[in-house]
């Protein structure tokens, strides 16, 4: 005879059954997320729920900063003020020269028929939380798709590139730092225009130039800037400085380690560039394109984001 316990002893499914259920659910989510990226909408909803917690967790540090700001002495403030004034003077001079140079460059570009460079739009953001994942390098900033931040937008600080927005939620966005193992950025050596791709070197906080021939013309101390070839990063933003070059005859490639220019792992305030304008559909050629190139248009404007080195 079948013997079942009375209903008041009923405790639901056995723990092992529950474990199988939740483990399967987790594994299914993992596969969906890793292989197919079907879970982004679910992720956005949960991110909205988590955001208040992240903000609350950031409060003590912000409060401490405010309190310590209270006890800054007047002398310190005056010193800082003078320093900033000097810096402002310096930068305003540079800015004036930049304006003139840009006008000249625009004119020259028009002369050779190259597409005009679009002005960059940017907005400041604050890092609210740095990802607690020892396997990757990510931070969360306090601007999301509501403020116009898109996935793929470059993120800078006052000294150079720190990374790229990889996911934009409604109120926050995830930025993958340059030092992440899976993050790559196209760069160019300032001294001689040599192009390369810099990859994150993971936990060491450095960047690596991979696949550079052992006899490549590169030296210690060379400055690397974005080349702008990928259409994501605007050209000419500082990325890193070459710190160490190891040339081993046994390998075809040199091992080149670079120190990031920006405070990739340390800063607090960042600037998010808008890459939307650069992705705007480029002029008519695209509409009529599709295989038949009309011979009448000899000189086509280049793709805007494909600006090569002058």
């Amino acid at each position: 005879m079948e013997h079942t316990p009375p209903p008041f002893f009923n405790r639901g499914p056995a723990p092992l059954v529950r474990l199988a259920f939740f483990a399967t659910l987790s594994l299914a989510l993992l596969v969906l997320d890793a292989r197919f990226r079907y879970t982004e909408s679910l992720r956005s909803v949960i991110a909205l729920a988590v955001y208040p917690l992240q903000v609350v967790a950031g409060l003590p540090a912000a409060l401490g900063e405010r309190i310590s700001g209270y006890f800054v002495s007047q002398a310190q403030l005056r010193e800082e003020n003078a320093e900033l004034r000097a810096k402002l003077l310096d930068s305003s001079l540079a800015a004036q020269r930049y304006e003139a140079a840009r006008a000249e460059a625009d004119q020259l570009r028009r002369l050779i028929g190259a597409g005009e460079r679009l002005p960059l739009k940017s907005q400041p953001a604050e890092i609210v939380y740095s990802g607690r994942d020892p396997y990757s390098r990510k931070v969360v900033i306090d601007k999301g798709s509501q403020s116009g931040v898109r996935a793929g937008a470059p993120v800078l600080d006052d000294a150079g590139v720190i990374g790229q927005v990889t996911r934009a939620h409604a109120l926050a966005a995830e930025v993958t730092l340059l030092t992440d193992k899976d993050q790559a950025i196209p760069v160019q050596v300032v001294r001689n225009g040599l192009r390369a791709v810099a990859f994150g070197a993971g936990s060491s906080g450095m960047l690596e130039l991979r696949f550079m021939a052992a006899n490549a013309e590169i030296q210690n101390g060379d400055r690397l800037v974005t080349s702008g070839i990928d259409g994501t990063y605007p050209p000419g933003i500082p990325v890193a400085t070459v710190a160490r070059i190891e040339r081993d005859a046994a390998y075809a490639f040199a091992r080149i380690v670079c120190q990031p220019a920006a405070g990739v792992e340390s800063g607090h305030y960042v600037l998010v560039l808008e890459n939307e304008a650069r992705q705007a559909p480029p002029p008519p050629e695209e509409a009529g394109a599709g295989g038949d190139r009309r011979p009448g248009k000899a000189r086509k404007p280049r793709r805007r984001d494909g600006e090569t080195i002058p």
């Binding site: 474990l19 259920f21 989510l29 993992l30 969906l32 679910l42 992720r43 949960i46 020892p134």
Partner: protein, 174 residues
């Protein structure tokens, strides 16, 4: 049971749902604090989850662990399901061991908790390594160590709302 655990031999008041929810929320916030070294920071959510799974296996279990894991996954921007899987397994192991763990004095419990936390960390690491991340070094084992060291503190704090005031009524019959 040892003398050191004499305090917990007192009969405890039934736990309130607000205590459980509040402690889990606090743990989440503690996890989201801007830690300077992510590998060294203990996983407070795992610790509090273990605590409630051991103390109240009928109230907090796999479902809670799975949901918390999902929140942690999204908050950290890692693959969804990584911590959900780790915390489900952690909750299961804690519930299975709950009867055994409570027989030990606090330091003995802490050793069990160390094993549990290492197990959860190992599951998360396996998932990451299977998906092609590089191993960040043995420093990731320090977090669970610190977490286990915090176990007596967590036990004391989280049992506080359930403790009765010391008996003062001398004339009571029973």
């Amino acid at each position: 049971m040892q003398l050191s655990d004499a305090a917990s031999q007192r009969i405890l008041l039934p736990v309130r749902a607000s205590t459980i929810l509040g402690s889990l929320a606090l743990a989440l916030i503690a996890n989201f604090l801007p830690w300077r070294s992510v590998a060294l920071a203990p996983d407070f959510v795992a610790l509090v989850l273990v605590f409630w799974c051991v103390r109240q296996p009928r109230l907090v279990g796999l479902g809670a662990g799975w949901l918390l894991g999902l929140l942690i996954d999204v908050g950290n921007g890692v693959l969804m399901g990584q911590h959900a899987l780790a915390y489900s397994l952690l909750a299961f192991a804690s519930i299975t061991l709950s009867r055994r763990i409570l027989w030990f004095p606090l330091w003995g419990q802490a050793l069990h908790v160390l094993a549990l936390l290492l197990f959860a960390q190992g599951v998360a690491a396996l998932v990451r390594l299977a998906l092609g991340a590089e191993f960040p070094g043995w420093i990731v084992l320090v977090g669970p160590l610190i977490g286990a060291a915090l176990w007596p503190l967590v036990t004391t704090l989280l049992l506080m709302p359930q403790r009765r005031p010391a008996e003062v009524d001398e004339t009571r019959a029973i």
